[in-house]
């Protein structure tokens, strides 16, 4: 094996490499809302003094502030400014990073954001690996400045969360740009927008020519009998399985480099198009009237994998494999668990939201009944309440509440809706890796800042009652939920206790008296990883995992579980 020893080489993920490239290129401002698999971009950038990095309250705000990074669904939140940013242009380098999640590892849906680039008429780059992510972000800044346009870089999970050798360079300082007043360009009223609309089309023609001459699109001629047109991580899967084939590797995929494709078809006999998710490249080639082979439509769903490629080439269908992965679960001692336990006990219909607490939907808890998008824990509650009238509660996490929950709460109050919203406040953005947010009073750089007081903002929205309760006090929590849920008032319970991942302190595990155990297994219904059934039907408490939250004691009517 050939080994190369190079200085200044680090093992970086696609997220980190992209961030590094942007830093070296002189990036000044970066904004994001945490979301897997994009969170590490901002976390990496926050380490540099020269970069003003921020966790924004949501992706729309992040977009309007700076270089913006988000997961695929985050771009949906930012669609409004995104669509018109192509009209105004940017004045200085502006990059949008979307990290798509084919295979839905950690998301609520699967969407191919390459389609958004086309709809928004914004150029699109698709790196294949972390080292390319670094290279491409530098090129993206050049394109953005030269063409006065935002540029979208699309990563996918297997690029964002792959680490490889990445060479580190020096930062280049760039001169600060002045803001030049240009009302026809920056104020999008109908007449101005129409003129800019014409500019966009002219820009796309120039961008297509640029794409056709860009080194990001590369023809590799090897075996002329078989060739692949491919982009993103799919290129590496095909290269793995067919290293001797010819390739048109597309890195600059919108506007599509038609001339390169035509050249490739002239040189190679049989051409396959292989791309993950939607037939994005396929459609461009169909428009050119070229004959090629593409994946069976069943492969449009989910991730590609290297071993799929030969079957795709042979025209085969995808065989769905049964998922046998272990289900995730709320951590032992998680403060959300008791809230779900109480809601289940009173048979409430619960509209949910996005975060760790979405796990409250999984069996045996099964106590969260809807999850659609950020903020819907509150807005869905309103619809559900109008339909069912009673025994409905909406739950939302603290970070999600700040993200898009507040407008929904104002809507509830304004439209005189009564009922109960529970803010599951663990004082962090837990699922994505414990990032801070406005209600923590800490910035991404760890500096203290103005703290958003959740109680105050709830009252300001028009809520009648705000109760702050430690959810580890299960009896108090239960009483309060029972009192508020069907009351003729709009109430918010802030169930506040620190996320277990941010808490080192543990209490002693409960004591289990097997002679009192009636083997009803109600204690297992709280789905605590520290409690398991033994082979002889008894209960085992794993003292390493147990945090001593004592919720299981509440579930046991026979006093087989007691405090130590």
């Amino acid at each position: 094996m050939e080994q190369k020893l190079i200085k200044n080489v680090m093992l970086l993920s696609g997220d980190e490499a992209l961030a590094r490239g942007a830093y070296e290129e002189g990036l000044v401002v970066a904004a994001s809302y945490p979301g897997t698999p994009a969170s590490e971009i901002l976390e990496y950038l926050s380490k540099f003094e020269e970069v003003d990095a921020q966790w924004s309250i949501n992706e729309k705000v992040a977009f309007e502030v700076a270089l913006s990074a988000s997961k695929h669904v985050g771009l949906n939140v930012a669609m409004d400014p995104l669509m018109t940013s192509a009209y105004t242009g940017v004045g200085a380098g502006f990059i949008i990073v979307t990290a798509d999640d084919p295979g839905i590892h950690s998301s609520q849906n699967e969407q191919d954001n390459r389609l958004i680039a086309e709809v928004a008429k914004i150029p699109l780059l698709e790196p294949s690996s972390p080292s390319e992510a670094k290279l491409f972000v530098k090129e993206a800044f050049k394109i953005s400045e030269a063409f006065d346009t935002p540029v979208i870089i699309r990563l996918t999970t297997r690029i964002a969360h792959t680490k490889e050798n990445v060479e580190i360079g020096e930062r280049k300082e760039v001169a600060q740009k002045e803001f030049k007043v240009d009302i026809p360009k920056y104020v999008m009223v109908p007449k101005n927008a129409y003129k800019r609309r014409l500019e966009i089309e002219k820009r796309l023609v120039r961008l297509k020519e640029y794409s056709e001459n860009s080194s990001l699109n590369r023809i590799e001629i090897n075996d002329k009998k078989i060739g692949f047109i491919t982009s993103g991580v799919s290129y590496l899967y095909v290269k793995e399985m067919y290293p001797e084939a010819s390739f048109l590797k597309i890195g600059f995929s919108f506007p599509f480099p038609e001339a390169n494709a035509i050249e490739f078809f002239r040189k190679v006999k049989k051409v396959f198009v292989i791309e993950e998710l939607e037939p994005f490249l396929e459609r461009r080639l169909k428009e050119l009237g070229i004959k090629f082979k593409a994946k069976h439509s069943s492969y449009r769903i989910g991730e590609l994998r290297p071993e799929y490629i030969p079957n795709i080439v042979n025209g085969g269908e995808k065989k769905e494999e049964a998922s046998i992965t272990r289900k995730p679960v709320l951590c032992p001692g998680c403060p959300h668990r008791s809230v779900f336990w109480v809601l289940k006990k009173i048979k409430a219909v619960v509209t949910g939201d996005i975060g760790c607490y979405t796990l409250g939907a999984l069996p045996p808890l099964g106590a969260l009944h809807t999850c659609l998008c950020m903020g819907a824990g509150i807005t869905f509650f309103e619809g559900m309440k109008k339909a069912l009238h009673k025994n409905v509660a909406g739950v939302i996490g603290d970070s999600t509440f700040v993200h898009t929950g507040i407008p929904g709460l104002i809507n509830l109050a304004y439209n005189n809706t009564k009922g109960l919203i529970i803010i599951l406040d663990n004082s962090t953005t837990a699922m994505t890796g414990n990032q801070p947010h406005p209600a923590t009073g800490v910035t991404i750089k760890g500096e203290s800042t103005k703290k958003l007081i959740l109680e105050d903002i709830c009252y300001s929205c028009g809520v009648d009652n705000v109760d702050v309760i430690n959810p580890h006090n299960v009896k108090e929590l239960e009483e309060c939920i029972k009192k508020r849920i069907n009351e003729n008032a709009l109430s918010v319970i802030i169930a506040r206790a620190v996320c277990r991942l941010n808490e080192k302190k543990k209490d002693s595990p409960p004591v289990y008296k097997k002679e009192d155990c009636k083997r009803c297994y109600l204690c297992l219904s709280i789905d605590c990883p520290a409690l398991t059934k033994t082979k002889d039907g008894l209960i085992n408490i794993n003292s390493e995992l147990c945090t001593g939250c004592n919720l299981c004691i509440e579930t046991c009517c026979f006093k087989a579980l007691t405090t130590s």
Partner: protein, 165 residues
């Protein structure tokens, strides 16, 4: 069909066991030795007790970040039940280190060190210098637990006096 000199290691376990940390140490050690390394995994739900797998590949030039099924050279399992799920990645020449999991669990009192024990075992099979392993351990583990980690790593190495070639 793929490049024959790439070494493919599949790590698996459940959230919180240090699967990703172990593969990170191995990847760094390979990097220190001058190999091209790719390591791929999925984050997000990992800390919540779900299945965790990390694909690590190193060699002269690595293409795919994922190991193709049937091409893992080594399977390192931190949790017995997860190992069965990933047998499709093995072939007749693959080395499954599953037997060392039970040995480690008997030998190592504190379960948090099992990942480093298994790395010690793995290190005897791989063409990566011991110095690079130790450098990676020093770089990636907290100073407070460094001595204990090095001790456990050495215990793991002792388990494999002469790795089968």
């Amino acid at each position: 069909m793929n490049k024959t000199d790439t070494i493919n290691i599949l790590f698996c376990g459940i959230g919180g066991q240090g699967v990703l940390k172990a593969s990170e140490i191995c990847a760094s050690a390979a990097l220190f030795d001058g190999f091209h390394v790719k390591k791929s995994e999925v984050h997000g739900m990992a800390q919540r007790g779900g299945s965790v797998e990390s694909h690590l590949r190193f060699g002269t030039e690595v293409f795919s970040p994922l190991i193709p099924k049937g091409q893992a050279d080594y399977l390192v399992s931190f949790y017995k039940e997860e190992q069965g799920r990933l047998k499709d990645f093995l072939n007749s020449k693959s080395i499954d280190l599953i037997d060392y999991l039970a040995k480690g669990e008997n030998l190592i009192k504190d379960k948090r060190y099992i990942n480093i024990f298994l790395l010690g075992v793995l290190s005897k099979y791989l063409d990566i210098k011991e110095d690079s392993w130790l450098k990676a351990i020093e770089k990636l583990l907290p100073l407070k637990y460094l001595e204990e980690n090095k001790k456990v790593f050495a215990e793991g190495r002792k388990m494999v006096p002469r790795p089968p070639k």
